[in-house]
Amino acid sequence: MKANPKDVNTGVYYIDGDVSSGYGALAAGCKFVGGYPITPSTEAFEAVCRRGPLVGAMFIQMEDELGSIASVVGASWAGVKSMTITSGPGFSLMMETIGFGAMLETPFVLLNIQRGGPSTGVPTKTGQADMMQSRWGSHGDYELIAISPDSPQEMFDYTIKAFNLAERYRCPVMIMSDECVGHMTEKVVIPLADEIEVEPRRFYDGPINEYLPFKPDEDLVPPMVKAGDGYKLYITGLIHDERGYSIKNEEYKSIYTKRLVDKIRLNKDKIIELKEEETDDAEVVIVSYGISSRVAVRGIEKAREKGIKVGSLRLVTVWPFPDEKIAELAKTIKAFVVPEINYGQIAFEVERCSHGEANVILVPHGGAGVHNPDDICDAIEYAAKEKKRIEGVIEYKTKLEKLVFEEGYKLHE
């Protein structure tokens, strides 16, 4: 299905990633945004609040993030595409309801413009340390989808994709962007509506009395209905059967949880999007996502100037994780280099999937800034030279890290 021309502000813009994502949401047909302002995501919320009313989208500034995400799950069950926008502390507050959304198989999009943490951290500067939280943050077993754009243009394109995936797989989808991409201002081309593919909600169309809200189709995704249409919905966050009625049976608990997880895992090939460059004869492959993939471009260039064969695997989709792709590359290369703005999250996933066949070098960064491309280049050089197979994740000492260690963790002017 094509986007509704009314929802799309076709044109060429010079805007930041936050605003671009807001425009993407409306172009995807989002009609409800519940949010609570938090740096550095406010521009996205402001963009939808400003433009939303012109295209029939309702916004509400809730009293807190607990409320904003609950309102989004509610609005989705009322039948409209919904979204919330947040960062760091707000993301933490939302965790319980993210699990609730996954349990109720509710489509919605969560835009997280990551900032420096933990706690209040560095609100105005960047970070990539919420990646594992986006995967495991709520209690219990569930799977969801996370995407990591690296430019304002991608913030538009992948916000639409996030809505499409949420509707397609009836699950929460997270856009795990960061302050740097969110506040980066670049040219953004918003295409004509008929060039934008949007996924409509998969509504049930059978007889009213035969509807079972959690009876999956062959792809393990159940079709949905909305409140107010006479289905006498019984929807609960308790483990439930196909009718939605709660059930405590051990066997059923396993069957239900397994479907919740397999709905994403077994459809992985259709969900995952990767951008792969020059990996064919590479000896080192950079695995990166979000802003770190932008920074890595220069590091890769420099390493190539030195004659090192470097490939790049960019995780546009971070969750579900491309296990098989990493395993396959591990067999042909010497090492992976993983630059990320944290002290090791995705690097450990890469190590898990490489099954000991390649070294994994983490180029860490504490946040509030991005990597120096020289550090990435140096790590590539080290990776290419190292002949030994080293167990675990090797934490590469960047110039900043070396300084920290020489000074013995002392902080002063």
């Binding site: 409800f32 012109l54 609950a70 989004v72 509610g74 069950w77 009322a78 409140a227 107010g228 939605g244």
Partner: protein, 251 residues
């Protein structure tokens, strides 16, 4: 069936609203048979979030009548309640007050009157209709579970009010699973017999204490622009023809 559910059922019927248009977000599970009997849509949400979930339902489809049935209203949901009043969100909040966390083991709540627990509680409880009224609710009432007719009338009235309505129901237990015979019938009668109807009373005078009779009745019935009314008015003023009012007259 539980007398509160009976009153709810009668209230919906009296209000003239189709049950299929009624959505009930709650933080306590109804029995599935109750939902089938009532013909409403039911959402067992998470603790304290029935009001914001209901806010999303209402704004997602303004034609719905959304009735949060809540237990943890004054704790986890306290902030949501206060803000629903401030913005006059179109919800009918039915708070079943049994004075304890019954299923968890009988701990005191913020609506437990002083002296109710083993060593006696010492914290001042909330007076729910008073709090609702102070925050801007357009309709507040309190009944005990055995005031079935009065409660049904209140529910019917409140369903046709525009804005936040709050009805507190004093009940011995949140037990929607069991039959009326199984609920402590002595206690339900005790509350009923120890109540006094004072319609139109200022809810600040309706504090519940162990010494005095429970003041019940309809306390607040006023008009105020709702959230959607204010949203439409403000955006129409600023955007003129570029803005299409949201939801239409009924929502």
């Amino acid at each position: 069936m539980n007398p509160i559910i009976t009153a709810f059922s009668k209230g919906i019927e009296k209000s003239g609203i189709k049950p299929s248009k009624v959505s009930v977000p709650s933080d306590i599970p109804f029995g599935s048979e109750v939902v089938n009997h009532l013909g409403v849509d039911f959402f067992h949400t998470i603790r304290g979030r029935a009001i914001p979930f209901g806010t999303g339902l209402k704004l997602g489809n303004p034609a719905l009548k959304v009735v949060p049935f809540v237990g943890d209203l004054m704790t986890l949901g306290g902030n949501h309640f206060v803000h629903a009043g401030r913005r006059n969100m179109e919800l009918l909040v039915i708070c079943v007050n049994n004075f304890v966390y019954r299923k968890i083991g009988g701990q005191p709540t913020p609506s437990t009157p002083v002296t109710f627990s083993p060593y006696s509680t010492f914290e001042e409880p909330f007076n729910i209709p008073h709090l609702g009224n102070s925050c801007g609710a357009v309709y507040t009432a309190r009944w005990t579970a055995l005031h079935t007719d009065e409660l049904a009338n209140s529910i019917a009235e409140a369903l046709n009010k525009q804005g936040l309505s709050v009805i507190e129901v004093i009940s011995p237990g949140p037990n929607y699973y069991t039959k009326i015979e199984d609920i402590e019938s002595n206690l339900i009668n005790f509350y009923y017999e120890n109540s006094v109807i004072k319609n139109g009373e200022d809810p600040k005078n309706a504090r519940i204490t162990p010494e005095e009779k429970i003041v019940v009745g309809k306390f607040t019935d006023k008009e105020r622009p709702t959230f959607i009314d204010s949203y439409n008015a403000q955006l129409s003023k600023v955007l003129g023809d570029k803005f299409t009012p949201y939801g239409g007259k009924n929502g």
